[in-house]
């Protein structure tokens, strides 16, 4: 038993978080910033945060993750980090020559009250920012929200680069939220098939799933360009995927530049994908090509074939709110029962939404926002489940309680390939179903006594 000290008896904890189901804001900001073309993310604080965030992103995406830091020491912590940041900006443009530096704060620079806007203004005045280059930033205090909040804050800062214009360019802004680079690729593929001209931001496809070619590009070819972001205000509309990750940026564009927005759930699973495709259809004013209906039909086909194995199976799932909402809906749509749902990210709306999605279930769904994995494990100990879904940290619970475990979410540190196989859209749905069924049937094969062990299942 690896988590041998976890008791079955549940006592309320007010101060101690044990085995968190979230992490801190800057890592989300760093991931989002990598989805801008030619961008070097910069962490304004002491260098440890930057090292941790780079390491974790690298472990998950298995790709180079470059980011600079202001490397605060005691002095900067007391007197403010302005000098460090300006020096950093100068060094970065000289040595690495990025197009953009996207700065995010850390809990340190937030606590001392460094004002990014003012520092960037000063750097501009001092001539530290070369012609045509961009430096912008987002506040990401780690003692508020979670990594999801940090992602959202950086995406909002990207939206704020939009410049006023009375023209319209006929494009649609797509804010995909924190999904894998391959998911962003898949969303773009669907848009192209329908014929919607898009600006996707952030867009980490081509950045964090690039080829191995004997060449290292610090700034790979992928990513949204600053020019595109500047023109985001000229779009016909914005589709934001995920209330937690993407809505803030979309609403800002709406209120500031009158770009109407629609906030949808992330397109995981059948129904959320249906809604997404349907909105794209209306936006483009076209009918959906048969190829997409065909893909959808394949997913429905697989659901019907597999339904016998899924029906009534209990699932414990943890992760980030936007992903969880769509996934819980998907699990319900195949008649699986998500009985325990935990996110570390705060948000009352989350619990309400999950309750709604699971209201027709034969079991009560225990759901907690701002929860931790220790609690989820205790729930499981009290009443076991058939499947556990979440990031790699779940493997300890899975092993102790002997539960099939689907790795999904962030971070995945002990399996590979997730950066290449999308789980959004109908195609992604196929992959999810295949993985879930594989786990359940492997389990069945392992548990069956010899006399009932069968070749055909």
């Amino acid at each position: 038993m690896l988590l041998r000290h976890t008791p079955t008896e549940i006592k309320e904890r007010k101060s101690l978080v044990v085995n968190p189901a979230k992490t801190c804001q800057p890592i989300g900001a760093m991931y989002a910033a990598l989805g801008i073309k030619g961008c070097l993310p910069h962490s304004h604080g002491s260098q440890g945060c930057c090292a941790y965030h780079r390491s974790m992103l690298t472990r998950h995406y298995k790709e180079p993750v470059s980011a600079a830091t202001s490397s605060f020491t005691e002095g900067a912590s007391v007197f403010g980090g302005q000098a460090n940041l300006i020096q950093a900006i100068n060094n970065i443009f000289t040595v690495y020559e990025p197009e953009v530096i996207a700065v995010h704060t850390t809990c340190l620079s937030e606590t001392i009250g460094d004002d990014l806007k003012q520092i960037v203004t000063k750097a501009t005045k001092d001539g530290k920012i070369p012609e045509g280059k961009t430096v912008f930033g987002a506040p990401t205090p780690s003692y508020v929200g979670s990594h999801v909040t940090g992602f959202s804050n950086m995406v909002k800062a990207m939206a704020q680069l939009a410049e006023p214009s009375s023209e319209k360019n006929g494009k649609v802004n797509i804010i995909p939220g924190w999904v894998e680079p391959c998911d962003m690729e898949e969303i773009k593929r669907l848009c192209t098939m329908i014929g919607v001209d898009t600006t996707m931001f952030p867009d980490t496809s081509g950045v964090l799933n690039g080829p191995l070619s004997g060449e290292y590009k610090m700034f790979p070819d992928g990513g949204v360009t600053i020019k595109e972001l500047k023109e985001a205000g000229q779009a016909t509309g914005t589709i934001a995927l995920g209330e937690w990750c993407s809505a803030d940026a979309a609403r800002w564009l709406d209120s500031k530049h009158k770009v109407p927005c629609t906030v949808l759930d992330m397109p995981f699973g059948l129904k959320a994908t249906d809604r997404f495709i349907d909105v794209l259809r209306t936006v483009a004013g076209v009918s959906i090509p048969d190829t997409i209906s065909y893909e959808r039909g394949q997913l429905v086909d697989l659901i019907s074939d597999m339904h016998q194995y899924f029906y009534g199976k209990k699932v414990a799932i943890f992760g980030d709110p936007d992903q969880l909402i769509s996934m819980v809906e998907f699990l319900r749509s195949i008649d699986m029962c998500p009985v325990y749902v935990v996110t570390g990210t705060p948000g009352k709306k989350f619990e309400k939404r999950i309750k709604e999605l699971t209201s027709d279930m034969p079991y009560e769904c225990k759901v907690k926002a701002k929860g931790d994995m220790f609690l989820m494990h205790q729930w499981i100990k009290n009443e076991p489940v058939d499947l556990l879904m979440g990031n790699s940290y779940g493997k300890y619970i899975a092993r102790d309680e002997d539960i099939p475990f689907l790795r999904w979410g962030f971070p995945i540190t002990d399996r590979q390939g997730h950066q290449y196989f999308p789980t959004v859209g109908y195609k992604g749905g196929l992959r999810l179903l295949e993985k879930i069924l594989g786990l359940l049937l492997d389990r069945k094969d392992r548990d069956s006594p010899e006399e009932t062990f069968e070749l055909v299942l």
Partner: protein, 545 residues
């Protein structure tokens, strides 16, 4: 690999110039002092390297922070202490099981390493102070687990808002009576690298824990192993070999360690230091306070392991022990040699570069030597001058503001427990025979003349070095791994060994030989270019036409 053309002879001075060329003048001046062309082998006064100085803002460094050194490196591998990170959630999350420290829960079954404990400070805690929350968190941890010890780690904002973590720890320690609670002021900004965190951790462990178990130990040949962290099971292999030789390892600082190991460390008769950087001062303190002499050892490499075992044997000077050690070496070596020989036919003449935290950039050169591989360039992420130039430079090292931040603790001989393990005559006899106590020559003398030693290497310089010198293998950490591999050069993580290990001791050497053989021989590096990229000119037409 085969398709890669090696750049013939670059003059080391030109390489250095190339590395510095692009920097703004101020940065270039500073980096120039941290990059040296090694000529230390025989010369009287080798050039001095600048180390343990601040990282340059904006230059993409390999370094981490003080907290990482304290909580991650030193306290991370201690299994029966509940380690609570006081701060916002991130720091605790990232240091949760990410160092591949392996552990065995032992007969008592206490193991908190798979857990992550944090006070998850929120904005109101930052505004009004987090002491109350910390106190409550310690109480909750105590009520849930009743551990022997609870340690508290401060993160950046905690230092800024001035929470007195030591006072909270003291209050709770006194309240519980049966649980040792102590704290570390290891805020990330405190030092210039992880090194400051090692120091802070070691000081507190020495102050609050070492020597608190008086129960005498009856075993023979008792040692402490300092600076071994059981990454990928290294410590398990070292323990296996020691046990086979009849040597008792009282305490490993801190791989697979327990509360009680630290508490009993004063019962050892010799301290053996593996990672000089992270812990050399603890060896000194153990000597001053308890009279335990120390030697530098190295269990990375089969030859190095044999040498270190013999050194331990010579110290105890006992014939049975020495014979036992020789018997173990004789038994273990044939398998190692057979595999080395096989591997060597493929690795001979290959080249490596190594840039890791502390001693690893030095120790692993032994293993590469055993495979006939040459180290072209190496350096430390957070070494100090003595790690490069040897302990003799310690008195010359200037104490700057950042080092002054780290408390030096005053240690004196313990009135009750101080007991010199050897008489001055015995020490002298050993030394006259060439035995070296408290001795470390550093990395430089073991590297060839003309090789390039770089302190605090950064991403830009790493890429340049690889482009210019085209090594067959690059060793560093996870952050560096994929940018190097994109260049078509295999990269081995030496902090955490990717998924491999152990690499220490005899069995470890075998694992390492095989792993390096796989890496430098992998076919994948020959796939970089597609046929049409190798030969872009269309010179023929297809037969169909």
């Amino acid at each position: 690999m085969s398709s890669k053309t090696k750049v013939v002879q670059w003059d080391p001075a030109d390489i250095k110039e190339e590395l510095l060329k692009k920097y703004p003048p101020k940065v270039a001046r500073k980096r120039a002092k941290q990059i040296m062309i090694n000529e230390a082998t025989e010369s009287e006064a080798p050039p001095e390297i600048v180390a343990n100085v601040r990282t340059i803002p904006g230059i993409i460094t390999m370094r981490g922070c003080t907290y990482a050194g304290c909580k991650g490196v030193i306290m991370g591998p201690t299994r029966d202490i509940v380690n609570i990170t006081h701060g916002p959630i991130g720091c605790g999350f990232y240091s949760w099981l990410t160092r591949r420290n392996q552990t065995s829960a032992g007969p008592d079954g206490e193991n908190y390493m798979p857990y992550c404990f944090s006070t998850d400070m929120q904005d109101q805690d930052i505004i009004f102070g987090g002491e109350k929350k910390l106190e409550a968190a310690i109480q909750e941890a105590y009520d849930l687990f009743h551990p022997k010890g609870i340690c508290i780690f401060s993160t950046c904002p905690v230092g800024l808002i001035g929470d007195d973590v030591h006072a909270v720890a003291k209050k709770m320690r006194e309240k519980f009576g049966d649980c040792n609670v102590f704290a570390f002021s290891c805020e990330g900004y405190k030092g210039v690298s992880q090194s400051a965190g090692h120091h802070i951790a070691n000081n507190e462990v020495f102050t609050h824990l070492v020597g608190t178990n008086d129960e005498p130990r009856k075993e023979e040949y008792k040692i402490n192993l300092l600076g071994e962290y059981n990454i990928g099971g290294d410590g398990f292999e070292i323990d296996r070999v020691l046990k086979k030789c009849g040597i008792t390892n009282i305490a490993t600082f801190s791989g697979n360690s327990t509360y009680d190991q630290f508490a009993s460390a004063q019962h050892a008769d010799l301290s053996c230091v593996m990672c000089h950087r992270s812990i050399n001062y603890v060896a000194d303190m153990l000597e001053t306070k308890y009279g335990i002499p120390w030697i530098k050892v190295n269990f990375i490499g089969a030859e190095a392991t044999a040498k270190s075992l013999r050194k331990i044997g010579e110290y105890f000077g006992d014939k049975t022990l020495i014979e036992k050690i020789e018997a173990v070496i004789a038994e273990e070596m044939p398998e190692v040699e057979a595999i080395a020989k096989d591997v060597r036919s493929r690795t001979e003449g290959k080249t490596a570069m190594m840039f890791v935290g502390g001693s690893r950039a030095h120790h692993y050169q032994e293993l590469f030597n055993e495979m006939g591989m040459k180290t072209l360039s190496a350096g430390y992420e957070f070494g100090h001058r003595d790690d490069y130039e040897g302990r003799r430079v310690i008195p010359e090292i200037k104490v700057d503001a950042d080092s002054r931040n780290i408390e030096e603790i005053e240690v004196v001989a313990d009135e009750v427990h101080y007991k010199p393990r050897k008489t001055p005559e015995e020490i002298k006899t050993l030394e006259d025979a060439g035995y070296q106590f408290k001795h470390y020559d550093g990395l430089n003398p073991d590297m060839d003349k003309g090789t390039i030693v770089v302190d605090d290497l950064n991403q830009y310089e790493a890429e340049k070095l690889v482009e210019i010198m085209k090594p067959d293998l690059f060793c560093a950490g996870i952050k560096e791994k994929y940018s190097i591999q994109k260049l078509g050069v295999p990269m081995k993580q030496l902090h955490s060994y990717d998924s491999g290990g152990p690499y220490a001791g005899f069995k470890g050497a075998i694992n390492f030989y095989k792993e390096i053989d796989r890496l430098v021989g992998s076919k994948v590096w020959s796939y970089m270019k597609a046929p049409w990229q190798e030969n872009p000119e269309l010179t023929a037409t297809f037969v169909w036409e």
